[in-house]
Symmetry: C2
């Protein structure tokens, strides 16, 4: 693996663990086993490297989500599969976490990968809800876009509850609660 690659992966890890504000170029270099000059040769600076790392993480997350969302023979099963997908709640979401970072939100370049990821996720979830409604599986009155936003929010909020509690339990409870509410919305 070359140096640029190691820098990106180290940045991905540190952004996940400590966020953008809490991650220094120096820490990235040390984890990657690279010197100062090496990093500034491959990237223009911290924002540039962070953007590359965030785009990478966003692409990986999307691939994982798509893999889960494609499986299941009913809308409820596919949405449930997304909600119950194996996660590590105490680590949080590597993309969603960035949305709480002031410097990320203040920069269009840095915010864009986060924005695109959630726009895609909401659309994808809404498609599945709409299919469930069309198939007569879910109630006719259920708004696909609103339901999708609620499902995505339960996962992101579950991370907050888990980290606040220092335990994965609230995350699992929120997922169970959401699955039960979806079950109640069957036609």
């Amino acid at each position: 693996m070359d140096t640029a690659e190691r820098l990106i992966e180290s940045a991905q890890q540190l952004l996940w663990e400590r966020g953008y504000v809490g991650t220094s170029p120096k820490a990235i270099q040390q984890r990657a086993g690279a010197g100062q000059g090496s990093m500034y040769h491959h990237f223009r600076g911290k924002p540039d490297l962070a953007e590359a790392a965030m785009r990478r993480s966003a692409a990986q997350l999307r691939a994982q989500a798509e893999a889960v969302l494609a499986v299941g023979d009913s809308a409820t099963a596919r949405l449930g599969g997304y909600l119950e997908r194996e996660r590590d709640p105490l680590r949080g979401c590597r993309v969603g976490r960035m949305a709480m970072d002031p410097d990320v939100i203040a920069s269009d370049e840095l915010r864009r990968p986060v924005e695109e990821t959630f726009a895609w996720l909401r659309d994808r979830l809404a498609e599945i809800v709409a299919e469930g409604v069309a198939a007569g599986e879910l109630r006719a009155g259920l708004d696909p876009s609103d339901t999708a936003a609620a499902i995505a929010a339960v996962v992101q909020g579950g991370y907050v509850l888990a980290r606040a509690a220092g335990s994965r339990e609230p995350f699992d409870a929120a997922v169970r609660g959401a699955v039960a509410l979806l079950a109640a919305a069957r036609a």
Copy 2:
């Protein structure tokens, strides 16, 4: 208002805007119009002042939530009132935001106010769900604790979606989605 008070309020604002890692003692002092020595006279350091500020914010949030949760003549109305309470989604939750901060999570003292706030909120929401079930308003099978966690998560996750999008719209959509799912779970 005395200096200690101004320091706490300034710290509350900055922690909300920039998180713990992104907030420096110097920035707090400047916003409060106080010097270095003044801050270190009233507080032992950044963690001490941050803890005071977070406890204050937690108490305020709890009072606001309790005020909303006490109003309404049915469980659905009270839970809906909590979900639809007036908020500024782009600012995020001043308590929930702290859960994403690595230094807050690493310190028991700093994490405790966050933990206590969400433990209280989940209990309070679960009580209301349980009352709704007992009254025959909500389905008998609905688990109060899981449903409460899902509701709290929708709000916290809604903030993430809104900040990612740079717009309050996803927050409002998630709330509408959650309200609709709760309506579907009526007995």
